[in-house]
Every structure is written in C-alpha cells, then in structure tokens.
C-alpha cells in the first residue's frame, strides 16, 4: 500500500553533517486541530477520500454541464432565425467561447475525473489513490479554476476568442476585455488538477492493484483511464507553456506570436493543437471505457476482444499525438505536411473502428438487458459511428478545406463528443449510481431521459451536417436569408430544426436532474439498491453500496478478468454452459469474514484547499493588482509548508475527545 503510515521510529535527515537532525512527523506543528470530523460539511471540504472527492467532482461538473448547456441554448436561440438579435455580437462571441470551454474543461474532463477517482481504486482493489491529499488538491484546483474563469462574466466580460484562442485575435489589442486573461489563468489552475490527477492515477494503477490483478486482468475502464492519464501527463505541459506565453503576451508585452517582432502566429496553433488533439481523446476515451464495462454486463458476456480493445485504446493514445495538424489543413502548411497529416489521420480511424467492431460483437450472441445504462451504451455505438465516419470525410484534406470551420465540423465533433463522451458518461451514471449512492435511478424516467436526449441530439447536430455543407461557417453571430438558399436544404429550415432539437435535448437532460431528485428527495420511496443490481462482472461490486470508507474489508485476490463474474458463475469450457454457483451476498460475506484488522487511512487536511484557493488570488493579481500576486503567493507558501510538515495521519490529540490507543484505529471505528 502506498498510503503513508506514521513512522514509528524517528526519521533521520541530514545525516553526515555533524549531529543528525531528528524529525518526528507525528508531532503536531499547527495550532489548529486536524479536521477529523466524519460527518457534516467539514468531512467533505477537508476530505482526502477518493470517493468523496469523486462525488464532488461529479456534482461540480454536472453543474457546469448545465451552465454550458444554457450557453448552448442561447446560441441556438440566436441562430433560430435570420439576423438573430438575442445576443449582441460581442456577447455571442463570449457565449460560444465559454460554451466550448465549459463543456470541455469544466464538464467532460472533470466528470471523467469523477468516475476515475471514484472507481479506479475500487476496480483495482485499493483503499484509496496513491496520494490522497494531492487528490484533494486536484479537485480544489479544478473548482478554484472553474470559479475563477466564470467570474469573468461579472468582471468585464468573458473570453471571446473562440476556445482555441488563435493569435493574434486573442491579443490584448484585438480582445481588450480581461476575458482571455481569466480564461488562460483559469485553465492553468484547472490544468494543475489534470496533471496531479494524472500522476496520482498512474501511480495508483501501476502500483496498487489487488494481488493477482496483472495488467491484462485489469478492468477495461481502468485501462482507458490509464491511457488517458498518460495523454494528460504529456499534453498538459504543452498547453501550460502555451498559456504562459499567452499570459506574457497579453499582460507583460511579450511578443511570442507577434509578426512585427519576427514571430509567427502559427506557433500558437501548433502548440494549441499538439495539446488539443490528444485532448479530444482525453475527452472521449472515458466514455469508451465506460461502455466497454456496461456492454458486457448487460449483454451477459465478456467484452469481445479485450486485448484488442486495450491495444486499440493505447494505439489511439499513441497515434493521437501525430495528427494535430489536421486542425490546420487550411492554415497554409504546404502540401507535404498536409499530405502526411492527412494520412496519419486516416490511420487513427483503424483502431477506432476496432473498438466499434468489438462493441458490436460484444452484443452479438448475447442476452441483452435494455437497462437505461445499456441504452446509452448502444446509443454511443450508433452516434459515435456517425461522428467517426464524418471524421473520415475530413481526414481527406482537400475535402476538409471545404468543411473546416463550417457547421459540418460542428456536427462532426458533437457526434463524437456528445455521442461518444457524453452518452458514455450517462451510461456510467445509470450503471454506477447504485454503487455510489446506494439507490438505483428510476429506470422509467431514465428511458425518457435517454430517448429525449437521443432525439434531441440528432435533431440538433444532424442538421448541422446539412447547414455546414451548405456553406454556413461556424462562429457567426447570425445568418442571412440572402445566403440561405431555397428548397429542401435551405439553411433557414435546418437552423430552426437544430434550435428545436436543442430544446428537446435540454428537456432530456432535465429528466436526468428530475430523476436524481425523485430518487433522493427526502420523501422518496426508492428502496436501497440490491448488492449486485446488474449482475456485474468487475471488482468494484465485491463491496457494499456505497462502499465503506476503506472500500474493502479485505482486499480481494484476483484470479481472472471479470473476477466478480467468475466468483458467481462457473463456466463449463467444453459445453460453454454457465452455472450460477454463488450469490453476490455470499461472496461479500466471505470477503468480510476475513476482514483486515488494521486499516490505515490518511487523515483529512486543511492544506489542499488552502493551497488551491490561493492560486486564483494570484490570478486576480495578474489581472487587477500585482499586490494580490504576493498575497496569493504567501497563501501558497504557507499551505505548502503546512502540508509538508503535516503527518499523513492525525495525531491522537486532534480528536475530540482525544482518540485512545493511537490513531491506527481499529476497523470498527472507521467503518
């Protein structure tokens, strides 16, 4: 276990320089007690528990999903008719910039982090992640950055340069509000969350798997999360550098992209897309991982070609680094680069196609249970296939020069991101809800949720193929009758259809919110979920719903891929016959019977949240008053020292009344 235990003997530092200095980390240095409360708001704000952090990631990103959705509805309202006047030109530009920023950075990425945080330790049989306080720090950085970016709405206007902020249009000269400063600094802060999360999860997955779980016996969701963390690990530094250059260019008069100083604005595009293309796989692979879990469970057979799915995921992650310039086919790279990136882009269609084949073949010959989670998963196969195929049409570079920056591209990436990532996340909501909250969401409301979202998304994004091929560029605050054409494919009709579709989509999402309310409101009659509501296959189900704070009473030993399934069922290898040999309750009881008696969990801490919220103070300082930078930096320094000197486990005296028998509490007191 990588959870750090309190050393029982004093550690020696500085040996060799005369008298060795002795440090005993168990000593309390602060004046405040450790926030060890197990209930109430303090138990959330200062928690280092991966499950609580996962839930908080989920709640915050769900909120921002609604914010981003509201921004999208305003955009569709503006474009519902010709010469729309709902938003001014400036506000419209802020709206589409923030819609993309919110959905990508404040919804899909952190929602994937929510699932990863909650589920990865459970899926690999660990009691927490490797670095629990860093995990908490990551979450608070995400929240601090998200709030910081969105305060720009009230402090002079949000970013208005489009989410890829092309230079020089994103310079202070052309975008004089502070919106882009908020955007750049805020994404730096949320970027810390991604980077620390990546390091944390890679270490966790590589080091903390249950005994017997070799990499090729690891649940596929955890595999995809591992691939994503490597993408993040290498992609975040690139955008970090780019955002620093942007900040220096806007705030301190640097000239990294300035033509008059001999620089080239295309440098920004390369930096952005070297991050930006892996980013699209960072966004979509969690959804792939989720459906690769959901499909086998509800088809009652293993994932078809597990190894192919793993390796195709890794291949996507790898080739994803070599295709960034396909976002720049029209920016004048010259025919050699265009040809190379065009072919590389086609290559990535192959591993992606492998996944679709495997999902389909998983259904084949199965015994399909159409739960809401399964519907979303099947929806993903269908919608993502459409998005993938339209992607092939613009891997063809000359064809892309007709399509790029039109609504055809908007249609394409919404089919991949909404159809791929978001439908996957919704499949995950319905599938793991009973695991996380102990109750199933209503299946009948879930069906409404699913069908309205599917109908809504196809009505919203489907017509955008037509609108784009008819020549309507994206990012236009309005369209005119003069260029709308007539007949079946006229822009006016299809723009209206897309706007109506967006309302249906919104109602579909509202059903999800209603479903949560109906399930969890105080007067709800929804019963507690069964232990194994879906007849699931993987390790996270060999524990209670919701899991105890320490996840597993005893760490299960793994013998097979789909460990839980193989404990429940016996497969006759000659006849292929499957017989149930144990119930989930029996399996859990057997595990609990051999419970570990000394379980060490790290204690909560003030420092992650203090450190994280010092960063936006520095951000405001960069924008408004340089003294605030110093104030924020002092907060950072204080929190870093506090953190460094804090033992991982709370001292007995931190408890009220003080704990007896040492802080290595018996199972009973933590459970």
């Amino acid at each position: 276990m990588a959870i750090i235990e309190r050393p029982s003997t004093p550690a020696v530092v500085g040996a060799g320089a005369g008298a060795p200095a002795v440090v005993t980390p168990s000593q309390a240095y602060g004046v405040l007690r450790r926030p060890v409360a197990a209930t109430g708001w303090r138990s959330w704000v200062f928690t280092v528990d991966h499950k609580k952090l996962g839930i908080m990631y989920g709640v915050v990103s769900l909120f921002f999903f609604l914010v981003g959705g509201f921004e999208a509805l305003l955009i569709r309202l503006q474009l519902a008719g010709p010469e729309g006047t709902v938003l001014s030109a400036g506000l419209y530009n802020e709206m589409f910039t923030m819609h993309a920023t919110t959905m990508v950075f404040l919804f899909v990425m952190p929602m994937a982090a929510a699932f990863a945080n909650y589920l990865v330790p459970l899926q690999i049989g660990a009691r927490d992640v490797a670095f629990p306080r860093i995990n908490a720090f990551g979450f608070w950085c995400f929240l601090a950055g998200a709030i910081f970016i969105n305060t720009s709405w009230f402090l002079g206007g949000a970013a208005d340069g489009g989410w890829f902020m092309y230079q020089p249009n994103a310079n202070a000269l052309f975008s004089p509000s502070h919106g882009i400063d908020f955007w750049g600094l805020g994404l730096q802060i949320t970027g810390i969350a991604s980077l620390t999360g990546a390091v944390n999860l890679i270490v966790t997955i590589l080091n903390m798997r249950a005994p017997g779980m070799s990499l090729m016996k690891m649940p596929i969701f955890t595999w995809m999360i591992l691939v994503i963390q490597f993408l993040l690990l290498f992609a975040m530094p690139v955008i970090t550098v780019a955002l620093f250059l942007l900040m220096f260019q806007r705030e301190f008069g640097a000239t990294f992209f300035d033509v008059s100083a001999g620089a080239d604005p295309l440098l920004w595009q390369h930096l952005f897309w070297i991050f930006g293309h892996p980013e699209v796989y960072i966004i979509v692979l969690p959804g792939f991982g989720i459906v690769s879990e959901v499909l086998p469970v509800f088809a009652r057979k293993p994932l078809f070609g597990y190894r192919f799915v793993v390796f195709s995921g890794a291949a996507i992650g790898f080739v994803g680094w070599g295709v960034w310039a396909h976002h720049m086919f029209a920016s004048g790279l010259g025919p050699v680069s265009v040809a190379v990136f065009s072919v590389a882009t086609m290559l990535i269609a192959i591993p992606t196609g492998v996944k679709i084949v495997n999902w389909t073949m998983t259904l084949w010959g199965g015994k399909i249970w159409f739960s809401t989670a399964m519907l979303f998963a099947i929806g993903l196969i269908v919608e993502f296939t459409i998005g993938g195929l339209s992607g092939v049409t613009h891997a063809v570079a000359p064809s892309d020069t007709q399509q790029t920056d039109t609504y055809y591209i908007v249609a394409h990436f919404h089919y991949t991101i909404f159809g791929g990532a978001v439908l996957g996340l919704f499949a995950g909501f319905y599938y793991w809800w009973p695991k996380i909250f102990g109750k199933r969401l209503s299946e009948s409301l879930g069906k409404w949720n699913f069908w309205l979202m599917i109908i809504g998304m196809n009505l919203t994004f489907g017509p955008m193929h037509i609108i784009g091929l008819q020549g309507q560029p994206r990012r236009m605050m309005n369209w005119t009758e003069a260029r709308a054409g007539e007949g079946f494919f006229n822009l006016g009709f299809w723009n209206r259809v897309a706007s109506v579709g967006s309302l249906i989509l919104a109602v579909g999402v509202a059903f999800f919110i209603v479903n949560i309310w109906v399930t969890h409101r105080p007067s709800s009659k929804t019963p507690k979920s069964e232990l194994d509501p879906w007849d699931a296959r993987s390790l996270e189900w060999i524990t209670q719903n919701p899991p105890k704070e320490h996840n597993f009473d005893s760490i299960p030993t793994v013998h097979a891929l789909d460990e839980f399934f193989h404990r429940k069922y016996e497969v006759d290898h000659d006849t292929g016959e499957v017989t149930k040999v144990a119930s989930a309750e029996e399996i859990l009881a057997a595990e609990e019977a051999k419970a570990d008696h000394h379980i060490h969990l790290p204690s909560p801490s003030y420092w992650p949240i203090i450190l994280a919220f010092s960063l936006p103070v520095m951000g405001y300082g960069v924008i408004f008053n340089r003294f605030l930078i110093v104030a924020g930096a002092l907060g950072v320094l204080l929190a870093m020292f506090g953190w460094a000197l804090e033992p991982s486990v709370a001292d007995d005296s931190d408890y009220d009344p003080p704990a007896e028998g040492g802080s290595n509490k018996e199972l009973a007191t933590i459970g």
Binding site: A330, G332, V354, I368, T385, S399, D405, G471
Partner: protein, 411 residues
C-alpha cells in the same frame, strides 16, 4: 484554347458524378439547389477536383455507416433477452478481429492515395495565368492587381474591394495575407478555403468555368464582425474582364461644377479622404496649386487600411460585402443573369435607379450602429486611439446627400 477540349469530358464525368453523388447526398444530407455557398456544387476546376475526391468518400462512409448501424440494430433485436440461457462466455475471435482491422485499412489506402495526389494537384502553381493579391483585415477584403502580362495584361495597379473580379476559364493564383488577425478566404464553388495569416503569403488557386457571381465568406473567426466579413468572386469572360480593367484604370472624372456631386467631392475630401483613397482626387489651394489627396488610414485604423473608393459604383457591395449597393431587384438581375449576358449586366455597375440608398445612407450616418466594430472613441482608446472599422462621422443629412451623389459618379 486547348483547355476547352479537356473540359468537355470533365463535364460529362461531372454529370455522372452528380448522379451518384445525389444518391449519397440523400443519405448524408449534402447537395442542394440554391444556397450560394453550397460546397457540393463546384463551378470551377479546383472545386471540382475536391468534389471528385469527396463524393466517393461520402458514399463509402455512408455505406459503411449503414452496414454498421444495420448490424447493431440486428444484434439488438436478435439477441435481446428472451429468457434464453446465459450466452457462451466467448472472449473474441482473433481472426475476425484481424480481418476487420485489415479491411478498413485497405479502404483507407484506397482513400489515401487519391487524397495525397489531389493535395499536390491543388498546390500546383506552374500553370498560373493571372495573379491577384488578396489582403484580409477586420472586417473586409482588399484585392489588388499587380502590373502583369497575366490576366490578359494589366498596365497599372488596381486596388479594389468588395468583389474579387477574375477572368473566367483562367487559372488565377491568389496570394493571400492579412493586416491584422487571421482570416480565411473561401469561395466554396471555386475552391476550398485558405487562411490569411499576417506575415505570411499563402497561395490559393481560383478558376471559374463560367461568368457569374460566386459567394463566399471569411471562415476563420476574426473577432466582433466575423459574420459580416463576406466576399463575392465575379467571373467575367476574358474580353469583359479587359473592359473592367480599362474601366478601373480610367482617369478621375471630377464632378460637374456646381452640382450636388461637386459639393460632395468637398465633403468627401474633408471627412472621408483621411482613410478612403480615391485615385486622382485633388485639392486646389487658394493660391491655385493643385495637390493630390492621399489617404492615410495608418493613422486612424488599426489594420492601416480602408477600402479604396475610386470605382465604388462598379462593385455591387460595400462594408465587407455585407450589404448590397444594388436594390434587390437589380441585384437579382445580375445574380440570375445567364452566363452570356452576365458580363454586360455586371459591367453596367450601379446606376442611380439601382442604388440601395437605404443601407448606404445608414452606413454613412452611423457605421458602428450598423455593423459591430470597435469604432467608437472609448473602444479606440484600447488601441492607441485607432479605430477598427469606420466610426460615426457626425455628418448631417445634406452632407450625406452630397456624398452619395459624389459616390454615385465613381464608375
């Protein structure tokens, strides 16, 4: 010309292509009748090359899509839970996996080879017959025709905006750049788009089979009035193009003395000529000395440029091709002209009867109210006192009358 011989079979191929593409379009929602920026209705060689490449890809993608969706639909219906026993716990069939990996790879090789050859084809510059420089800035395009033997011969530089006039059936090479942010030049019926990047010159081939107007639009997000940065390419028979060139290079015609237009010339000189060049416009000092009026937009505008208005009324649009200079009726007459009559109708320019005075008047009265720009005094404070677009000049109605009368003579 030998080009004509090669074009006829190309047309026949197009008809065939159009039939097949039509079927694909029904599936994929592509081709349509009338939107002027339809990307599936090529009207020149370059766009045609793209189209010849793209429609089979759409077709193949469509067919694969239908197959995948059919298989999924079949599996979902066939293997639904009907109380059957637990299925066999099969972990996959490597042979099938490998086959279904190789098959798409082969299809992509089939797509990749013509893609690469078309990419190089479209980057060819050796067959250029005419060169035009195109410069983007917030939020309009400037077209300048350098002195050359190409384009049928241009003896003095021509600077214009609003409409890119090109000789039909000629390989034109556009040299694209920008004065401020990145824009993108796109006339869908003639070719794909190409970004215009400050500090760089990109080239883009243009060729129109027949005379006519081809609509386009800036497609790289370029700030506040991105939606109002449009363009039109006008193709004329080479003979008509020569007429147009000669017209652009005609000497300045001063308005008749004492006319409203003559008052307009003075008002224009006093209010507009700081930024807008009219070639040949002069002022006469009290001592009788005549000096040319030279615009100096560098001092007033961030991009350092404003449209040259020497021959404004030979164009059909203004303010970044966002508004028509022609009334709707006259505009339709030009846009719907058959190719053989198009040149004559276009070269007639904008007459007093056809002038869309409403929009032009509003524009001169208060441009920023009509087109979102950073053109008020406070907004200019952020950019060293320079505007981005035309500010409100505070002219009274009679001054506007004068200016319109003056501009109407800019043929």
């Amino acid at each position: 010309m030998s080009r004509r011989d090669t074009r006829l079979p190309a047309r026949r191929r197009r008809t065939l292509g159009a039939v097949v593409a039509g079927a694909a379009a029904l599936v994929l929602g592509g081709c349509a009748q009338d939107a002027p920026q339809d990307t599936w209705q090529p009207a020149g060689d370059n766009a045609q090359k793209i189209h010849d490449l793209q429609w089979p890809v759409f077709l193949v993608a469509g067919v694969i899509g239908v197959i995948v969706l059919a298989v999924v639909a079949f599996a979902v219906v066939r293997f639904r839970d009907r109380g059957q026993p637990m299925p066999e716990q099969s972990h996959g069939k490597p042979a099938l996996e490998i086959a279904l990996t190789i098959l798409p790879a082969l299809i992509l090789v089939g797509v990749g080879i013509p893609t690469v050859s078309t990419v190089f084809d479209l980057a060819e510059e050796a067959d250029t017959e005419c060169i035009i420089n195109v410069t983007g800035q917030q939020w309009w395009w400037e077209y300048d025709y350098p002195v050359q033997d190409g384009c049928g011969g241009i003896s003095a530089p021509i600077v214009t905006s609003g409409q890119l006039v090109i000789p039909a059936d000629t390989n034109v090479l556009l040299r694209l750049t920008s004065r401020d942010v990145i824009h993108s030049f796109w006339i869908p019926k003639l070719n794909g788009k190409k970004d215009t990047v400050p500090g760089r010159v990109h080239t883009l081939r243009m060729q129109a089979d027949e005379p006519g107007i081809y609509a386009g639009q800036c497609t790289e997000f370029c700030g506040l009035s991105h939606a109002n940065m449009k363009m039109e390419a006008v193709a004329l028979f080479p003979a008509d193009f020569q007429t147009w060139v000669a017209n652009q290079l005609e000497d300045y015609q001063a308005p008749a003395e004492g006319s409203l237009a003559a008052e307009g010339e003075a008002t224009f000189t006093a209010n507009c000529a700081y930024c807008h060049q009219v070639n040949g416009l002069t002022t006469t000092a009290p001592d009788g000395s005549v000096t040319p009026v030279l615009a100096n937009p560098d001092e007033f505008v961030v991009s350092g440029a404003a449209p040259n208005l020497t021959n404004l009324m030979t164009r059909n649009t203004f303010a970044g091709a966002t508004w028509d200079l022609l009334t709707e009726e006259c505009r339709d007459r030009v846009w719907n002209a058959p190719p053989e009559e198009f040149g004559e109708r276009y070269l007639a320019g904008v007459s007093a009867d056809c002038l869309n005075e409403v929009d032009l008047r509003e524009w001169i009265r208060n441009a920023p109210a009509k087109k979102p720009m950073y053109a008020t005094a406070d907004q200019a404070a952020n950019s060293g006192g320079k505007f981005r677009g035309m500010p409100a000049l505070g002219l009274n109605e009679s001054q506007i009358d004068q200016i319109i009368a003056y501009l109407l003579e800019r043929h």
